[in-house]
């Protein structure tokens, strides 16, 4: 393998650790503190010679200057006492850093807010944890929204009692208030967590705690809700610093949490937030937001407060590398990926060999193995731009159109049962996808056409799963999942337990599909249209109406975007047009699209799974995701442009062979991960290597086979438009989805695959076929070595290493039956991981 990067011998970073940093700074550098008792945590950040940053808050000397209106209540913790402006100075060795704080309204109490003040107690005490009362069904007859996401519901359930009902707003059963206004200290809300009454969740706080006092005061004052929609108390988002941090094993770093309010104000929420590590074995986090690194790896720390969630990515890294490779960067993908590798101290593998690259890029862009002659030609070429030229060739190839049509057939669910149970309709729909790919149609245009489809065209067929118009909620949830990469489904029955999606938002979005109707009866002439709201069109004949009602409140639903904007579409307008226009301009749209594309090349998305964007599942490379999305928007949603950016990057072109230093890396793209070939691609590859095309029939049983059809000879598996029509045992075993729901391919190995390798028709019949590659080579009098070379090139896009070739030649020569030995060799090639994976 050619090492094409340059190694730089920089400063020995390891020697610098613990020594004077090259820079020191304070975070935040400037902040305004408001209201009585306002506090702000500051962090002192040391920057070492290798660019690594350390939290040295506890190790620096803190000083205050300026007005005497504040004091330190802890390391870097500033407490305001009176209005004014102060300057903070941190000193570490010879380095100093400064920050400022404005102190305003320190003599004024902030208005009480149930959402903020009581919600904080419930959250910090774990009461509204999703495994406790914050679960969908609550716990012990008492329910709270997870993380105080829905404070009005919490208030109702605490003050009046009752539980959430899916289908009605009426409260069923006995309502037990959790507070006692006459005897506040007897409130269940206090007695249970304080351990005065048996409590399944144990003691959450003591009677002399700040939490107990806060709740008792609130009940004693009549349990007000306080400011309801006051911008002063409405938190719009949470921010955590640092968003990404690297720690050496045993190191620690404090997180800084800032709440942004609707009035533009910010407030330090570091002490109000609840922290949780997704992988405590990698890094743990305590109640104060201090992250402690345990073992090498990467995890996310989730931060919840005031109904919001954010997260920080934590990488636990090894010792600083004395020689971190200086890598050639092809584009911004490399800048952002390599920057993180450097920060995480993970050296990348060298650039892939030509043989490695040609196989990988052919499979990734076209789903097709390169022919042996092309492999030889590419490897032999001395053209320095040959990789770019090959990428151009592949992206202009008809195989590219075939392959990406198949990719989107999958995502858009082209299948007979998903498209009205009419093979012609799945074909119409698939043809629309094919034309879109072949004509370079911008992805936002594809989305518009699919979302707004009416009449009898291809994309309209996707609104006919199982021959009916799907329920509006399910239809909407699928569109959001496909185009936003988000799962709103939970919010169909209740507010989303972990995200800020409410049931009202879900049904407001579903209402865009509430007028969706099909004209026609029993499988013929299904025309998709949006039923007018104010025209009966025969509804009176059957005492019907078309209003879509909220399942709980029964109120008529109006199309409402996720941002709360209600869309009024007149009868002569397609209500989904406004939805489509809005969706394609949202950041989610581009992010979901590029993330999906990325996953096809690296086996995982920057957010993974690709359709599960949520605050508790942060991207591994947020800047890269944002940059790719911006590029996608700027280039008018050109799919090919993003594909080209990816495959031209050095990141993509790195070797798949890990080094000792990056072997454990799974998420940072230090080497190309080996990915199992998709079922259809694998079957096509087997057909290609053996030279024997697969036969696909529409019937399963012998009886059905007599009346069924057969795909034309040479049809590739990726060209089968109806996975539910063309049965294939092989494809089922290797995870082909039937597309009856949004496909999630199962690429994990199973016993059935192993048995199929041993006894299945695909592996065995092709070896003996007279028209196959092996028999042709034998009949042409080719030597064992020539045959081995040919199959290596066809299957692996490389020639065998010397020891491989020698061993194989000896094995074939040893046996009494040359042909049988050659078949064994080809069988072994097809069953090898090197063949079944892209790497």
């Amino acid at each position: 393998m050619s090492a094409r990067w340059r190694w730089s011998v920089g400063l020995a970073a390891a020697l610098c650790l613990g020594a004077d940093p090259v820079a020191l700074r304070i975070e935040p550098s400037a902040r305004t503190l408001r209201g009585a008792g306002a506090m702000q945590q500051y962090l002192a950040i040391a920057v070492d010679a290798d660019g690594a940053e350390r939290d040295v808050t506890g190790g620096v000397q803190w000083k205050l200057s300026g007005s005497p209106g504040a004091e330190f209540a802890g390391a870097g913790l500033l407490k305001a006492r009176q209005n004014g402006e102060v300057r903070l100075t941190a000193a570490l060795g010879s380095r100093t850093a400064q920050a400022t704080a404005r102190l305003e309204g320190i003599d004024q109490q902030r208005p009480f807010s149930f959402a903020q003040d009581i919600g904080r107690v419930l959250t910090r005490s774990g009461c509204n944890n999703s495994t406790c009362h914050g679960g969908v069904k609550g716990r012990g007859g008492f329910q709270l929204s997870s993380g105080a996401l829905h404070p009005k519901d919490d208030y109702e359930w605490i003050v009046k009692g009752g539980e959430y009902q899916v289908l009605t707003t009426e409260v069923k059963g006995e309502r037990i208030p959790r507070i006692d206004l006459k005897q506040p200290a007897q409130s269940l809300l206090l007695r249970k967590p304080a351990g005065q009454t048996p409590h399944g969740g144990g003691v959450r706080f003591k009677t002399d705690s700040e939490e107990y006092r806060a709740l008792l005061n609130w009940v004693s004052q009549g349990a007000p809700y306080g400011a309801a929609d006051d911008k002063q108390v409405t938190v719009t988002r949470l921010e955590v610093f640092p968003k990404t941090l690297t720690l050496e094993r045993g190191g620690s770093h404090r997180l800084l949490v800032t709440a942004h309010f609707a009035d533009g104000r910010t407030e330090d929420f570091t002490r109000s937030a609840v922290y949780a590590s997704n992988d405590k074995e990698v890094a743990a986090v305590d109640d104060d937001g201090i992250v402690k690194a345990t073992r090498l790896g990467e995890t996310a720390v989730l931060v919840r407060a005031a109904g919001g969630v954010t997260s920080a990515t934590v990488g636990v890294v090894g010792k600083a590398l004395p020689d971190f490779p200086r890598l050639t960067k092809a584009n911004f993908v490399d800048e952002l990926v390599f920057d993180k590798l450097r920060r995480f101290r993970i050296p990348p593998s060298p650039v892939s060999s030509d043989a490695e690259f040609v196989r990988r890029v052919c499979l990734d862009l076209t789903g097709t193995l390169p022919p042996p002659a092309r492999v030889r030609e590419f490897v032999a070429s001395t053209d320095p731009a040959k990789r770019s030229r090959l990428i151009d060739t592949l992206m202009d190839s008809p195989e590219f159109v075939d392959f990406w049509t198949w990719r989107f057939d999958d995502v858009f669910r082209v299948a007979v049962f998903s498209n009205g149970i009419q093979p012609k309709w799945s074909q119409m729909y698939g043809e629309w996808i094919r034309q879109s790919i072949a004509s370079h149609k911008p992805y936002d245009q594809m989305a518009r056409e699919r979302l707004t489809a009416q009449g009898y065209d291809g994309p309209s067929r996707h609104y006919l799963p199982y021959d009916v118009i799907g329920p509006p909620g399910e239809t909407m949830a699928e569109e959001v999942r496909v185009f936003f990469g988000r799962r709103l489904d939970c919010a169909q029955c209740h507010n989303h337990p972990y995200e800020s999606w409410s049931q009202d938002q879900f049904w407001g979005m579903a209402a865009f599909f509430g007028r969706l109707f099909k004209m026609g009866d029993q499988g013929n002439e299904y025309v998709i249209f949006d039923h007018p709201r104010n025209q009966a069109m025969g509804n009176g004949d059957v005492d019907g109406g078309i209003a879509l009602n909220h399942p709980r409140t029964k109120a008529e639903l109006k199309p409402t975007l996720l941002d709360g904007r209600e869309i009024v579409a007149a009868d002569g307008e397609n209500p989904r047009k406004a939805l489509a226009e809005w969706m394609v301009t949202q950041p989610y749209f581009a992010e979901a699209a590029v993330n999906r594309l990325w996953s096809y090349f690296f086996g995982r998305g920057l957010v993974d799974p690709v359709d599960d964007f949520r605050s508790t599942n942060p991207p591994t490379h947020p800047e890269l995701l944002e940059r790719l999305a911006r590029e996608f928007r700027d280039r008018k949603h050109d799919l090919r442009h993003i594909l080209r950016l990816i495959v031209e990057s050095r990141t993509y072109q790195l070797s798949g062979v890990p080094t000792a230093a990056n072997r454990d890396d799974r998420t940072n793209y230090s080497h190309t991960p080996a990915r199992p070939l998709d079922a259809e691609v694998l079957l096509d590859a087997i057909s290609s290597v053996t030279g024997v095309a697969e036969t696909f029939r529409t019937g399963v049983s012998e009886a059905a086979a007599r009346t069924s059809g057969q795909a034309p000879a040479g049809t590739r598996a990726i060209a089968l438009r109806e996975p539910d029509l063309f049965y294939s045992r092989f494809l089922e075993l290797y995870g082909r989805p039937n597309r009856l729901t949004l496909p999630e391919r199962n690429l994990s190995a199973n016993l059935g695959q192993a048995l199929h390798m041993l006894a299945g028709n695909v592996y065995n019949e092709k070896l003996s076929a007279p028209q196959g590659r092996l028999m042709k080579l034998v009949q042409a009098g080719r030597s064992n070595r020539e045959i081995v070379d040919e199959f290596y090139l066809a299957a692996f896009a490389r020639l065998p290493e010397r020891d491989e070739a020698d061993g194989l030649e000896a094995m074939i020569a040893r046996g009494p039956d040359r042909l049988a030995a050659l078949k064994d060799f080809v069988w072994a090639v097809l069953c090898s991981r090197e063949f079944a994976e892209n790497h």
Partner: protein, 557 residues
């Protein structure tokens, strides 16, 4: 009674009698032809075609729908490996004739069903490998997809800017051909790869629609191209015959709806409802002269109060060229009356153009009185289902100026071909569709077979209807029969179905061959007709079907 019971039980227990009771004797199978290959022949040239089917033994003649065509059986019936039979027939289509011949085979067990044979004004090639395109000259290729998954490829040389229309016509029901035009431009992976330029299996599909594939292509460059025919879903077999036509220029796009099966079908959007329509309707009812509508009025985009005024009977027509466009007219109703509203789509039709027609009340709100959208509920879940109809009826209780409006059912789809014509007329009780499902009747001496006559009573037609069969062969008589009525209770959530469908009624004719009837050489063409009866006088005959009836020899017992 007790004695009778014993006898009955004894009969049932007797092996031979119980066998008789268990299964009535099976009627002998009629000959059935399943394909004709080649599917096309040139006119005035003797061409040998192979007719496949079952029950062809004793094939002696071919019956053609065009009398001047001749057909001669060549050789004996041969048995195919798949339990079918075939026979070769030399056919000469009349000179100057182009179109479709309907062929029936006459065998020892009678006359068969019919299949089409296309007569073309071009040489018919038999699956050639390469064809040369001569400008202005059409080509016809007859082919057959013998095996499943088979793809027939024809190479053709085309010049730059050639505009050609390719049409694949299916020879049998159930074979749905698809066309692909490709160029051998290869790829980096495969130098021999054919790359698709155009693919145009028929774009629309629903039951009953013609399955023929049509593809129009203008060639950007001169070269060699591959035209491929395959079956949708890869079916194939010895009966999968097709005709591939290659013609210069752009052929007219066929109507989306298939040709009418019935001579009269007033509930199809593609019938003509112009000036001649109302007299035609009257002829099937009272027979009285009617005042036809005047010149068609143009639909207007004006607000209802400013829309033009239509008097009854009246025609309104227009084109909805822009999405969500709505046309209106006011309709002057001088007295309470029963109306029929008929909609025609002379160009684009369902499911591309789906006109919604609504009659709105004179009140301020313009409430909907009737629409051509038939709404019912699905009994599985009570979902509302909607279907647009070419005709709706309504009884208006009061006079006034109503508003008729028309638009496409979608808000986004429109076109220059979204043309409509709407006839608003008084209801005229009459017989609508008349239908005989039987295709042919073969009778052994002494045998009786049933001929079913279905009619639809339209617009509250109440008069008596006579059914007759003329031209029966010697020894065959027709009598009225009474079939066991099929109990079909109205669906519980069927909506106002009476507005959108005729009232169906079925009569049965029984054709009986005398014990001494002599087997015929040729089938007789029996005209099954109906007539209306009013005031003791019958109306003009309305032909239901011309039915081949043949007396065949009794099978040896």
């Amino acid at each position: 009674m007790k004695a009778l019971l014993v006898v009955s039980l004894a009969l049932l227990l007797s092996p031979c009698v119980s066998g008789l009771l268990a299964a009535p004797p099976k009627a002998p199978a009629d000959p059935r032809i399943t394909s004709v290959h080649p599917l096309a022949v040139p006119a005035a040239v003797s061409t040998v075609v192979t007719v496949r089917g079952q029950g062809l033994a004793g094939a002696r003649a071919m019956w053609c729908s065009v009398g001047s065509a001749t057909a001669r059986i060549e050789g004996a019936v041969a048995t195919d490996g798949d339990a079918a039979e075939h026979v070769r027939v030399a056919i000469v289509a009349p000179a100057g004739f182009t179109g479709v011949l309907r062929l029936r085979l006459i065998a020892s067990r009678g006359v068969s069903n019919d299949l089409p044979l296309h007569v073309v004004d071009a040489p018919v090639l038999d699956e050639p490998e390469t064809v040369a395109i001569a400008r202005g000259a059409p080509l016809a290729i007859a082919g057959r997809l013998v095996a499943k998954g088979e793809v027939d490829t024809v190479w053709l040389e085309a010049q730059r800017d050639d505009l050609l229309t390719f049409t694949a016509v299916s020879g049998v029901a159930g074979f749905d051909p698809a066309l692909t035009l490709s160029e051998p431009s290869g790829s980096w992976f495969d130098a021999q790869r054919l790359n698709r330029l155009a693919f145009n299996d028929e774009p629309l599909h629903f039951p009953g629609l013609a399955q023929d594939a049509r593809l129009v292509h203008r060639f950007d460059k001169a070269g060699r191209y591959a035209l491929q025919v395959k079956a949708f879903s890869g079916q194939g077999g010895p009966d999968f015959t097709y005709l591939l036509r290659i013609g210069p220029g752009r052929e007219e796009t066929p109507l989306l709806h298939p040709p009418a099966v019935h001579a009269w079908d007033e509930r199809r959007f593609t019938r003509r409802v112009g000036e001649a329509w109302m007299p035609g309707v009257a002829a099937r009812g009272s027979g009285e002269a009617v005042k036809p509508p005047g010149v068609a009025m143009q639909g207007s985009e004006a607000e209802p109060k400013d829309a033009p005024l239509l008097t009854i009977p009246g025609l309104v027509e227009g084109r909805l060229t822009r999405p969500a466009q709505v046309h209106r007219v006011r309709v002057a109703v001088e007295k309470p009356q029963a109306l029929a509203i008929e909609v025609e789509t002379p160009a684009a039709t369902m499911p591309r153009f789906n006109p919604v027609v609504r009659l709105l009340a004179p009140d301020d709100g313009g409430s909907e009185i009737v629409t051509n959208v038939y709404t019912k509920r699905n009994n599985n879940g009570l979902y509302m289902m909607k279907m647009i109809q070419a005709k709706s009826t309504v009884t208006l209780r009061s006079a006034g100026e109503y508003v008729l409006e028309v638009r496409d059912i979608t808000t986004d789809v429109a076109g220059d071909d979204f043309a409509y014509r709407i006839l608003v007329r008084p209801q005229m009780p009459h017989v609508g569709r008349v239908d005989v499902p039987e295709d042919r009747v073969n009778l052994e001496p002494g045998e009786t077979r049933q001929v079913t006559v279905n009619i639809e009573r339209e617009e509250d037609f109440k008069d008596l209807v006579l059914v007759s069969a003329d031209g029966l062969p010697a020894g065959v008589t027709a009598t009225a029969g009474m079939a066991n009525p099929v109990e079909r209770p109205p669906p519980p959530n069927g909506g106002r179905v009476e507005r959108y469908v005729g009232k169906p009624q079925t009569a049965t004719l029984l054709l009986t061959a005398d014990e001494n009837a002599k087997p015929g050489e040729w089938p007789s063409t029996v005209r099954v007709s109906i007539r209306t009866l009013r005031g003791g006088r019958t109306g003009a005959p309305i032909l239901a079907k011309e039915l081949p009836v043949l007396v065949i020899p009794r099978r040896p017992s």
